[in-house]
Point group: C2
Chain length 340, copies 2
DNA sequence: TATGTTCTGATGTACGTCAATCAAAACACG
DNA sequence: CGTGTTTTGATTGACGTACATCAGAACATA
């Protein structure tokens, strides 16, 4: 079971090590028939090139850039510190990580950040997308320069991005509805929804999934028009408080974006009996889960997402396959009893 | 930002490369004061040794052995195929993985497997523990030989194992109770519990967590004595069917072990209105979730667990730190709406 | 001071691949 | 058949670390 090296392949194919190397790095100067013979020998011997030795010899290093929201939500604050943490962890794998935090909800800011970086973006970019044509165009330009691009947290389909690293947001919305449906014992009532912004695709998709299930399975519940909280706790609290004060029929609440602290403050003040599902795992939501103010929190693991984005970008650069099971970002459901 | 090499450290410390090397691999023959000077230089320059180059030079290869249950449950069948998959994925990292499947619920079989392997266990073992002194002793003997040991899926505390790779089973039980508590709308009733075996610590712990929450928060619900299904669908179905037939007060069910197919068959036949939480994600539980026969499934990701065990064992061998966030095995909650 | 012991430097080989060179062989074409 | 071009072989020096060897320096002890 000894490792099979390029030298072994060379002998098996009846060529020299140099030729194997040329094939391996698809360099020109090898006859087509010889290429085939070498490839045949490679998978007959089950050869896998030693990426570590290759990188060592090449002196190769990867450089990736994260473009994320500078928003004040607990979630993005976590994301940013996870990126910092990852920077250190992968440094000995010859991976450099850069980060640019841009004002939230501003498509042009993303584009400006990309342009501003120029060549410094490196080999790949992970960006929190915002629904906008200028962003789509910027992604296309990056790809045109050979830079690999993945969207991160919030996707922008129909763009040139090679992959989306994040959760299935429609499913997250559906689960939230499925939970609330089972949590709410009242025979009828209204359900409130608090989101961040309509240009964040992840929010829109969660809302969509939530409505799908509510419409189909909960004829006894009415979903109210959503509140746009702009990811700001203050705004969320003010708007939600007003809504709760004016409607005593509300029996459930789904908060699908940032500013969850505002949600907690509002429902605590309202003293209504509500079943509540939110996002974001912060000290505030933990306390609210424990006190029973909220019932469940649906989150995505920032640490996993950052690691995944880096691994995926590296795989694209190496032309290596992606381990789908490892890169599946989970919708995690926390209740009081399984807080980490 | 160029990489700092051992050569740089040598120059900075005013010693030769050979001495740095001796310090790095704590080989003898270096004066204490010199060791300190080298170490000081290492973290002044922020030196991290290139593990890839080190392994390359060493020609080091790791060999780990998984000792798992040969049980027929969907979960263990997944575990075994994930181990096979991992074997291929890590082969180019110079990691060899062996696997021995032993008859379930049999402590002596585990010990025999370990003894039978002799030196072939390699550098580390991941084993699905069973509560038993002979297993504890076997682990201690392995550790005595310098073999690293982690328990896997089911733990055996107070043993010499260096770590447990798996979920927090008490928390899993608590979450199951927390969900059922919210799912059950009936004002009162009985709750049935189906487990595998009393010598599987993971089952015992889940049961414990479940009872904790039920006792504390659900005075209106009575938890019935558990059914031992021996991880066999047939046994589970037979015992559960009998229970359901004899008790029309049952409003909820928690199945915390294997043989979930038996649970599904039994409740389907009984035609009672039950809220059900189970484990194991298989075609049967998927179908039951979709049809609404069961409400939620609590699972652990076999693929993640296998990767984690390998990474953790490798970290022990290398004396490297463990990335706790990456190794946190999640309790995943699947409902109809977030099936992967 | 002589002797033995402990430390340190200098050097070389190895690991598996990359990248470049130069020379030799095979081929194509008129 | 000669010429030019393409393909191949052989060789070499990196990359960063491990490990072994040998000689010399520093130190301790008598």
């Amino acid at each position: 079971m000894a490792r099979v090296t390029a030298q072994d392949v060379a002998e098996a194919a009846g060529v020299s090590l140099a030729t194997v190397d040329r094939v391996l790095n698809n360099r020109k100067g090898v006859r087509e028939s010889t290429v085939e013979r070498v490839i045949e020998a490679m998978d007959r011997l089950n050869f896998v090139r030693d990426q570590a030795a290759a990188n060592l010899a090449r002196g190769r290093s990867y450089r990736f850039t994260f473009i994320v929201s500078a928003g004040e939500t607990a979630f993005f604050s976590d994301i940013r510190s996870e990126i910092e943490a990852a920077r250190k962890n992968v440094a000995n794998d010859r991976i450099e990580i850069g980060m640019v935090a841009v004002p939230p909800l501003d498509p042009q800011a993303i584009v400006d950040a990309i342009v501003g970086l120029g060549e410094k973006v490196g080999d790949g970019v992970a960006l929190v997308a915002v629904e906008s044509q200028v962003v789509r165009d910027a992604i296309a330009r990056l790809r045109g320069r050979g830079v690999h691009v993945v969207t991160f947290i919030s996707d922008i389909p129909n763009s040139a991005r090679e992959r989306f690293v994040g959760i299935d947001n429609v499913a997250a919305g559906r689960v939230a509805a499925s939970l609330l449906k089972r949590f709410i014992h009242a025979p009828s009532g209204d359900v409130a929804v608090v989101a961040g912004s309509g240009i964040l695709r992840d929010h829109v998709e969660r809302r969509l999934g939530f409505e799908q299930v509510m419409r189909a399975e909960c004829p006894h519940l009415t979903v109210l028009p959503w509140i746009e909280g702009e990811e700001l706790a203050g705004v969320v609290e003010e708007k939600l408080s007003r809504l709760l004060a004016g409607n005593r029929e509300i029996v459930g609440l789904y908060s699908l974006g940032g500013g969850t602290r505002g949600v907690i403050d509002a429902i605590r003040a309202a003293k209504q009996d509500l079943r509540v599902v939110t996002t974001e795992l912060s000290e505030h939501t933990r306390a609210a889960l424990i006190s029973g103010a909220i019932d469940a929190v649906l989150v995505q693991d920032p640490s996993h997402e950052v690691r995944s984005a880096v691994r995926v970008l590296k795989a694209f650069v190496d032309g290596a396959p992606i381990n789908e099971k490892q890169e599946r970002i989970r919708i995690e459901i926390f209740m009081r009893d399984n807080l980490p």
